[in-house]
């Protein structure tokens, strides 16, 4: 029951951080001068992007360990990370579109970061479809690991090629001289709290999903040994 207490604690921490982030985004932080109220979505958009990228990196790392060690636990971790990451990747695209409509005047542009995120979303959508199709098998786990690794190899070259192709996305975090950064320290504080809140949310969701997958693995093993025992009893 120790694990249950940890998960409960994690949920409570996530709740507290999320409430703090909501308060800061809607009440505490000053409205950005140029973009107005819409800019506040940025405090959810960036943490979602960070979590999505981190989770997809986790898919690849788990894939490497699964192929190396062959332990089911790594596959359960990778699968859980891909599913949770997909949720946040979808949120990145949705919040980005909501922001882009008033600021750029279009829901979607083929800017480099938008395109990269969309391709990432398609890649991991393909991963999840593959897993759904392969079912609950050792083969499915192996295929998932291979695709997770190959997709992660693909990401850097997607970023480079799409950037060479075009870019208009504001460089908020990598401020160049005279570029737009976050002028007010309250903005930085809000972003940091939001990042912490979303990271906690991701870890919590990942834990819940991971535990569910672990249970499913154990249940499958039990069902198999039960079937074997029954077959032996009949002989």
């Amino acid at each position: 029951m120790n694990g249950r207490a940890v998960r409960l604690g994690l949920g409570l921490v996530t709740l507290a951080l999320m409430l703090a982030a909501l308060y800061m985004v809607f009440v505490y932080v000053p409205t950005e001068a140029d973009q107005g109220i819409v800019q506040r979505i940025f405090y959810f958009h960036v943490p979602c992007a960070w979590v999505a990228f981190a989770s997809f990196a986790l898919v690849a790392i788990a894939g490497v360990f699964y192929l190396w060690l062959g332990q089911q636990v790594w596959d359960d971790l990778g699968y859980a990370a891909a599913e949770s990451g997909m949720v946040f990747c979808t949120l990145v695209l949705v919040t980005g579109s909501i922001w882009a409509k008033p600021i750029w005047g279009a829901w979607w542009t083929w800017d480099s970061r938008l395109t990269t995120t969309l391709i990432l979303w398609l890649l991991y959508g393909g991963y999840l479809m593959l897993r759904a199709m392969a079912g609950d098998s050792e083969q499915g786990a192996r295929f998932g690991a291979v695709v997770g690794i190959v997709a992660a190899i693909d990401v850097p070259i997607v970023i480079v090629s799409v950037r060479l192709w075009r870019t208009i996305h504001p460089a908020v975090l990598v401020t160049r001289q005279g570029g737009h950064g976050l002028e007010d320290p309250r903005m930085v504080a809000t972003l940091l709290v939001s990042l912490a809140a979303f990271t906690a949310l991701f870890i919590w969701i990942l834990c819940l999903r991971f535990v569910t997958l672990r249970m499913r693995t154990r249940l499958g093993a039990l069902a198999r040994s039960l079937a074997l025992a029954e077959a032996a009893a009949q002989d």
Binding site: I119, L130, Q139, V147, D154, W165
Partner: protein, 224 residues
């Protein structure tokens, strides 16, 4: 190395003696080009060159998917793959041979598509068309490397034909961007040196995916 040559020789021999892969690939490329001529209604000139480059790469993607599927799934029929896996053949050599076969099928289909593209899009057979060749060959190699690995997965799943394009096309995007850009500027009269940036992206893509396929194919064409 000898096992690589043996498997490749077998595949090419099968193809020469009445295999239909290259014919099917060529026919598919022809159809794609015809469909895209209807879709774009190219008027020739500068814009025509860009549409032609795009059409050529769409044809490449489609024929690549078919080529890799043919090279890999031909072994699944009659359970030949089991014999190959039981033989003392290195999995990586098997991958290399399948990749080479898919690449050769694709290269033949691409040669046909380039000629058809020039005809359909009212271009000229001149040095500009020749400068397409490096980009198209690099693109074909990259797609063959990627699709051979993924066809190893899709051919072993029920309903797997569906999953191959869903995985291969998003992964191929970097090479697609570089290839279309390089081809459009080549047809627009750019010199090879001006294409160097895009060719480098294609080379990077090829190196990474050939290496990834070589290392990971072992886990795809696994036991059972």
């Amino acid at each position: 190395m000898t096992s690589f040559v043996a498997v490749l020789r077998k595949d090419l021999l099968l193809e020469v003696r009445g295999g239909q892969s290259t014919v099917a690939l060529g026919a598919l490329s022809l159809l794609v080009l015809v469909v895209l001529v209807f879709a774009f209604n190219p008027g020739g000139g500068e814009q025509g060159a860009e549409a032609a480059a795009g059409a050529l790469w769409v044809a490449l993607v489609f024929s690549g998917m078919l080529g890799a599927t043919r090279a890999v799934s031909a072994e699944n029929e009659n359970g030949c793959i089991r014999a190959l896996l039981m033989s003392p053949l290195d999995r990586a050599a098997l991958y290399a041979a399948k990749l080479a076969a898919a690449f050769i099928f694709m290269a033949v289909a691409e040669a046909a598509s380039i000629i058809l593209m020039v005809l359909f899009f009212n271009l000229e057979f001149d040095a500009r068309v020749m400068r397409l060749v490096p980009a198209v060959l690099l693109g074909a190699l990259g797609f063959a490397a990627l699709a051979t690995l993924l066809a190893g997965i899709s051919s072993r799943l029920r309903g797997g034909d569906l999953i191959l394009p869903l995985l291969a096309v998003p992964m191929f995007v970097p090479a697609l961007i570089a290839g279309v850009k390089a081809s459009a500027s080549a047809l627009g009269g750019a010199s090879l040196a001006e294409l160097a940036l895009w060719l480098k992206v294609l080379i990077a893509f090829d190196v990474m995916f050939v290496a990834a396929g070589y290392l990971l194919f072992e886990y795809v064409a696994g036991e059972e």
